[in-house]
Subunit: 205 residues, 2 copies
Amino acid sequence: MTGHSTTGHYHHGDLRNALLQAAGKLLREQGIVGFSLRDVARAAGVSHAAPYRHFRDKAALLRALSGLGFEHLHAALTEAAASRRGPEQILIEVTRVYVHTVMQNPGMTRLMFGTVISAEGDAGNAPAASSILEVFLGIIKAGFAVGAFRDRDPRELALVAWSTMHGLAMLAVGEVVDAKYKDMKELDALARTVAENVIYGISRS
Amino acid sequence: MTGHSTTGHYHHGDLRNALLQAAGKLLREQGIVGFSLRDVARAAGVSHAAPYRHFRDKAALLRALSGLGFEHLHAALTEAAASRRGPEQILIEVTRVYVHTVMQNPGMTRLMFGTVISAEGDAGNAPAASSILEVFLGIIKAGFAVGAFRDRDPRELALVAWSTMHGLAMLAVGEVVDAKYKDMKELDALARTVAENVIYGISRS
DNA sequence: ACCTGAACACCGTTCAAGT
DNA sequence: ACCTGAACACCGTTCAAGT
């Protein structure tokens, strides 16, 4: 995205971004368990002390990375919410996308929702999370507009919808759900079942 | 439970258990982030190499600890499932207990469901998880017996119920849900709402 | 059989010093 | 302004050696 590159002598113009990119790759490929800042620096081709010019500490780097993950999830959900007709169809599609996105990058998922990072001065993931809740709120309100849903506090219904698909996604990514569900076909069917149940639950009788 | 203790010269008869207990305390008090095996050994009053006589490595200790956590959750849910009348009341109570148990020990929760540990030869948490699923299966089947629930695969309904309360619990423990929900009163109300929605969803129309 | 102490390869973080 | 290299206090793990 930066564009200009005439000098041939390498070395980063934007080390901060290079570090985040390297970190994302390591997180995806190796997971969060052995994730080390020194590895990130190595992958970016700088000394192990260099990242400290751009992030206060390892937690700050992870927080920034987590923020990128939330943005990605938010974008995927927003797109899924925009592309269909009725609120019921939307809920089914959003559930499927939620589970898929979460399963595609388990390390990122654990980073985002595992609270490996905590607030500590920074706002933590609260704002990112509330932007995700907005997506569900939008779906619920659209459902109200066409008289589809039970007359309840929309924030409650939004949280019900989110909880349900989040729970399925977490059980899947945590491998606590039976091995057979790791098959994506099965997971898709399960996502549909779960979404339908939410719909049954929140629809007017 | 062991009973005899006449010799006054200390040093553990059962270091394995002492280590697990110390680890549990550290996990509860400090969380999983800075959790170190050397700290556990120190807390138990032995050298840092001593744990290796009882656990193959740090992951094995954590796996055993996680197993204890699953046992605790299983026992709490089983008790909640046994004490009430109709399946609807049971689901509400079980949801409340699930969320409470999870919130009472966030470090343990992250250990159990964060897949910090993976299988690696050992069976991982799959058996523990399936014993939890059994509890939900029992509730669903009891509901079938009195004609309360929709005619679906009981395993699906059980997973729907589990997913929903698990999702709420994870959002709560991950602090992604608004700060005001950290108040237990609010969380209790939320648990009830979520449980009611599951009931609406799985009940015969 | 169970535990210790030294040893090794790693980490996160800091800081003087270089360009 | 940005990066490096040495340094420090920690970790997980191994292994000879002690009782």
